[in-house]
């Protein structure tokens, strides 16, 4: 590999390390970066700027190798951001993790006790989900029924396609 390419690759990866260290040592204790929106924007803006800079540099040099280097670095940012956001969401605690943590803290519990206790959490989550779908303009109330918006239908089609591809019959 051309030495110049190695330097560019190191700079690109170095930027991502700095991006992570900035979050770890400065930003993660701030309220904005403890919200889903805030952390998504932090990664999204970084990805957009990184992509623009990489592609601009590649176009200026205009060879297959420089374009490959730029796209490779963009893919590294993609892997870093998707991995980070997945871990961030996982750490928020889904329904199953909440149940598991609850059993862990309480010791052995009869199935019926667990069902009674966590069913009420499920009721609260139901209302949250519908309001999130509504606020995201994915669904709306039409009289006494909930319907999907055009955007919601597109997203539902994508999700259905993914499940059919992987032959997953049951979800949720």
């Amino acid at each position: 590999m051309h030495p110049e390419f190695s330097i560019i690759a190191v700079i690109g990866v170095g930027y991502l390390i700095l991006h992570l260290l900035l979050y770890v040592f400065v930003l993660r204790d701030r309220a904005l970066f403890q919200t889903e929106g805030g952390i998504f924007i932090y990664h999204f803006i970084s990805a957009v700027i990184f992509t623009v800079v990489c592609l601009a540099a590649a176009i200026l040099h205009s060879s297959d190798s420089t374009i490959a280097l730029a796209i490779g670095l963009i893919a590294v940012h993609g892997i870093y951001s998707v991995s980070f956001l997945e871990l961030w969401s996982l750490a928020q605690g889904g329904y199953s993790i909440s149940i598991l943590s609850g059993v862990g803290s309480q010791g052995a519990l009869p199935r019926s006790t667990l069902i009674d206790a966590y069913a009420c959490i499920g009721d609260a989550k139901k209302g949250d989900r519908l309001s999130i779908l509504s606020r995201s303009s994915l669904a709306r109330r039409d009289g006494d029924r909930w319907r999907l918006s055009a955007r919601g239908r597109v997203l539902a089609l994508l999700l259905n396609t993914l499940l059919q591809l992987a032959a997953i019959k049951r979800s949720g």
Binding site: M1, S65, I79, W88, A108, Y118, L130, R153
Partner: protein, 164 residues
Amino acid sequence: MWFVDALLAVLIAVIGHGAFCRARISLNVVTRFLIVGGIVGGCLIWWLVQHYGSLAPQTWAGVLVYAFCCELYLFLFTLAMSSVSANLLMNLSRRAMTDSDIERLYDSRQMVMTRLDRLVAADLLVETPSGLQMTAKGLRMVRSFNYLRDFFRHNTPTHNRPAD
């Protein structure tokens, strides 16, 4: 061409995963993709190294694009599979639903029972005479989850403990 090769490899991995998921083998859907994706990825690496060389930017870029697309696919289908909100969205795409339809479909008790069954199937909980108990594997998962929660400064969920 390396970019097209990478995208083609992703397409082959996705189609291969779909075929593998239809086989009657006792492996979960994520493991199936890791196997298929790994094999296709290995072939892609071999192909790119043959054409561009092991140190060429095109080889690395092709592999990284493939890895990113695979990770995105994995994330999206696990989201579609496990997210109740995604499931609600898919049900609403089939028909408009009233509040009581949603109430019946997403009966909270049934959802908890389903999750308990999954946790037992995944060897995170075990049935004992005194009830459901966490296994060592479940304990490791909870510890990892607590570490991640502290790292990301998430507040302790108020619903982590059953109501008294």
